[in-house]
Symmetry: C2
Subunit: 432 residues, 2 copies
């Protein structure tokens, strides 16, 4: 078996065998295949595709390229969630305490953000003292004691994916359903959960631009669940508008507290309740799920679980009731509506990039973050707005580009229509 023949086969629309896929992935992992051969094969895969069986073996080979976590010593149903990334997506910090308060164990690995979508690690890092890098022992202990564990990945999980992803990023070979599937699922399957909720987003602020593309990706992801025999379900989720009102790290954490204190943020509740309901169903405990979820909010048990989690992670649980403990910003600039009407669009990508330029996110990996900075929306799609009314507020100490340009970008994200507009329904579909 040799790499040139494998590249030639895929170039000529052939189907790669299990052995050929393992030869490729093992070679990438061990560094015996030069990058120029890998990128030629990646481009051939992007253009000629892979069928379900090839994608299955690619996922399996990538999963096996490094450590595979064993969470069997943690009792109970362990359910993970994966989001393909969105603007204002703080769902993890709502569903983890909610699900844990209802008896589900939530093991999660997350990372820092890059570009217009934020990263869960950055959001949690805004909580004073919160540790986002746990040892394996601490991770398991957190899962056992609190029911939630979140950490940056410290073990050698899917090294093949790390190498492939770095190469795909610089060779225009990211956009491929089989490659995205193997990348996401190899990592998730290596992390030892029993169940997985996939939150596949589509729209202007998402990687997948259309509902159909998101659904195709979701179906491809779900087909990989048998690689490690886990239970999985996928939500197809509209990301044309940011999730919730707050975008930026501390601002988003504050919004998750608000939701668990009972604030009715429609879209955050819609997505969070659906996810926790699906987790309970996967566990085989779906009866009266919705009712029990709302009760966990109303009776404060989810918020209590959140406090436990923060405390176990070395953070200051007092932040829940005293937001002044968070990093904050000296400057706040309100942006006003230029005409009256109904908000018909809030472009997620533009809002996400505005937050990045306010230093809430990174343009380059080495950029530092201002945890207090971000964008607070005052209106959502479907809301009525008067000319001169504040539509959003920029929070910042300093900016990456001139403030004028950020104001222009954020303002241009809003479209106002004279006709009445429906509120966004986030969940377009559930795929099993």
């Amino acid at each position: 078996m040799d790499m040139v023949s494998i590249i030639r086969k895929k170039r000529d629309k052939g189907k790669l065998t299990k052995e050929e896929i393992y030869f490729f992935i093992n070679g990438v992992t061990e560094g015996t295949i030069p990058d120029y051969q890998t990128s030629a094969l990646l481009m051939a895969i992007v253009l000629n595709g892979m069928d379900e069986e090839e994608t299955y073996y690619l996922t399996e080979a990538m999963m096996k390229s490094g450590d595979i976590l064993d969470l069997s010593e943690v009792e109970g149903f362990k359910c993970d969630k994966h989001s393909t990334g969105g603007v204002g997506d703080k769902i993890t910090m709502i569903i983890a305490p909610l699900a844990a308060s209802l008896g589900i164990k939530v093991p999660m690995f997350s990372g820092p953000g890059l570009g217009h979508t934020g990263g869960t690690t950055d959001k949690l890092d805004s909580i004073p003292g919160f540790k986002t890098l746990l040892t394996e022992e601490e991770f398991i202990e957190s899962l056992k004691k609190v029911g939630i564990a979140n950490s940056i990945q410290s073990k050698n999980i899917t090294p093949a994916d790390k190498k492939l992803y770095a190469l795909r990023d610089v060779t225009a070979t990211v956009e491929s359903i089989p490659l995205i599937t193997a990348s996401i699922m190899s990592k998730k399957l290596a992390c030892g959960a029993d169940g997985l909720i996939l939150d596949v987003k589509f729209g202007k602020g998402a990687f997948m631009k259309t509902k159909e593309d998101a659904e195709n990706l979701a179906k491809s992801l779900l087909k990989m669940a048998p690689v490690r025999n886990i239970k999985a379900v996928a939500l197809i989720d509209d990301m044309n508008e940011p999730l919730g009102y707050n975008i930026g790290n501390a601002l988003e954490i504050i919004e998750t507290f608000e939701v668990l204190k009972g604030k009715k943020v429609d879209d955050l509740l819609e997505v969070s309740v659906e996810i926790v309901k699906r987790m309970l169903e996967l566990k085989g405990d779906g009866e009266n799920a919705e009712e029990r979820i709302y009760k966990a909010i109303e009776d404060g048990s989810a918020l209590k679980k959140y406090a436990e989690w923060i405390e176990f992670s070395g953070g200051t649980p007092e932040v829940i009731n005293d937001y002044s403990l968070f990093p904050s910003c000296e400057n706040k600039t309100d942006i006003k509506a230029e005409k009256s009407g109904y908000v018909s669009e809030i472009n997620s990508y533009s809002i996400g990039m505005s937050a990045v330029y306010l230093k809430a996110g990174r343009l380059k990996k080495e950029d530092t973050i201002d945890y207090g900075a971000g964008v607070v929306l005052n209106k959502k799609v479907g809301d009525c707005v008067e000319k001169g009314e504040t539509i959003l507020t920029l929070h910042y100490n300093d900016t990456r580009i001139p403030l004028n340009e950020i104001i222009f970008l954020a303002k241009s994200a809003f479209s106002i229509s004279s006709e009445k507009v429906e509120k966004t329904k986030r969940i377009a579909k559930v795929v099993k």
Copy 2:
């Protein structure tokens, strides 16, 4: 402008601009574009193609990536010939003396062979003393004095092609008409001739398997002639059967002497006369071309030119009349026909590889060559053969694989039919 965007554009079937193509080729030449990006773009080009305009700029940019020869100080019409490579292809050594004896200047650059097709440099190296590496001054002097100059390329011609070719070879990105076109034509155009005859071969022993593919390549090659405003014409040439009777370096040189001494080797004469005729036409001197060409053979003027060329190149012109001065082989093994009938096929690839295994050619670049070794055919397609009659003879001192296997391979190259078979017509078409 950045490389990722260029790759993405071609991946998405876009048309690259002149600026983008120059950015790519200059980056390859200067080493500022990493190989993994180059190979991703090459694969995208293989799969999504390039139109005529893109191929034109690719050829031009590659031509300009290094030195461009200036032969303007040599008077007369300078006409080069390029063959896409075949088994037993000693046409260069017939047409160069013929054309030069008829007043055409023939500047040629050649290289050593690899695999089943031999290299002109190796063939000339079999002539005792013949120098195949000339300085630029010697090259021009040879062209002026003899009318023929042949050398390994010593100047920095098309360095971009050298880098791209090395990468294409190990990434399964060789098979692409735009890439082959730019590779061949950038080199030929950089060499300073006024005219060019392209000998594009098809069949079992050739790179292009079908006549249609060869014709498509020929048309693409000819479209690049305006890059440096040269005159060009292409022959589409059947390579299903080896050219002539002798395959192997000294054996082939001897056969070229024989043809110029008047031996009627049908296919060698057919191709050589056609090429020289086209050269004369390109020069604008096509009247009675065929008659004059045959006369140059009959009256010995072509052979005399050959002797001058050998002498000027440091070789021993006495070899023309004393073949014992060539390296020769101790062992000769005849292979006999197993049945009577008509030769219906002589597989060029198998005969070419048999010669390689007899050490007439190389499997790897660093292999040494036995200049005397090779295969001598006793029959050609269409010939009648009796059971037990010798169909070919292997000449060797030593072999790269066991002799039995070479005998098996060479024998299997011959097909014998009970029905009468037509002789191969080599030139299928002339494309202008």
